[in-house]
């Protein structure tokens, strides 16, 4: 059981890293880009830069040292 847990932790650490929210938002952003790209005449390239612009400071803020 412990080995399975360690195996899972290894891949979690490798793929997700230390902020799961970033991975979740990136996946959602790519999915939204796909949906947007299916609409005729609507450009979809701008969505992911906006996602990065928003999630990067949020992720930084989440890891700032907490005030005592």
């Amino acid at each position: 059981m412990q080995k399975i847990k360690a195996f899972g932790l290894f891949w979690w650490d490798f793929l997700i890293g230390d902020d799961w929210l970033v991975a979740a938002v990136v996946v959602l952003g790519l999915a939204a880009t796909y949906v947007l790209g299916q609409q005729p005449g609507i450009p979809a390239w701008w969505l992911m830069p906006v996602v990065v612009l928003v999630i990067l400071p949020v992720s930084i803020w989440r890891q700032l040292p907490k005030k005592r």
Binding site: L15, G17, V22, T33, P49, I60
Partner: protein, 255 residues
Amino acid sequence: MTGFALFAAVFLACTVEAVEALTIILAAGTGRDWRSALKGMVAALIVLVAIVAVLGPAVTALPLTALRLVVGGLLLVFGIGWLRKAILRASGNKALHDEDAAYVKELEAAQKASGGRRPLAGDWYAFTLSFKGVLLEGLEVVFIALTFGSNQHDIPLASLGALAAVAVVAATGIAVRAPLSRVPENTMKFAVGVMLTSFGLFWGAEGAGADWPGSDAALLVIIPAVLVVALAYVALFRRRPAAAVAETTPHTAAS
């Protein structure tokens, strides 16, 4: 993307991974047993070669769109992770030279561990510590080389960049045999974070069906734009009360 840019991107990204792997090997070797640490490293390299032999062709045979979507998403997650840490350090919210702290942390953990001896591995703790570190960081090196290479249709050049990075870091490690705090880690991580985020943005969005204005030339705008945004966030978070911390966050694959 020119051949030189591909080589430079892979070289820089792989250098960061190699520095981290070497730090772990140094900690396991000096703290426990050099022979076992080196055995762990060799075992991990054998596993890596097997993975490359099996997955290498499979990765390049994948449909390019699907590959770009998956690779772009992963690079974006890795890149944002690197950028976040680099910005936290550059803005004074995280210890700047945490390679030292990481080395001390690994060394203390190695010295405290009881770890028994195994026939082939020798000191089990040193072996597994080295094995895990090299395998994890090595997987990232393989990942970077294969994906950058396959996307630019030049895996040999990307592999050369990765091998050159590993060789340079290994030679440096052998020469100094000390923590790699002399390598300007945060500057390198900042640059790598910008590159991975930029390529992640480009490939991820393209893989999801978006068409970038100017096609590949869009990268010439994306990379400087990501750099400017990252520097702006450094300035933004520097305005907060100085809160440089001595402790480091737990090791993660992203950096």
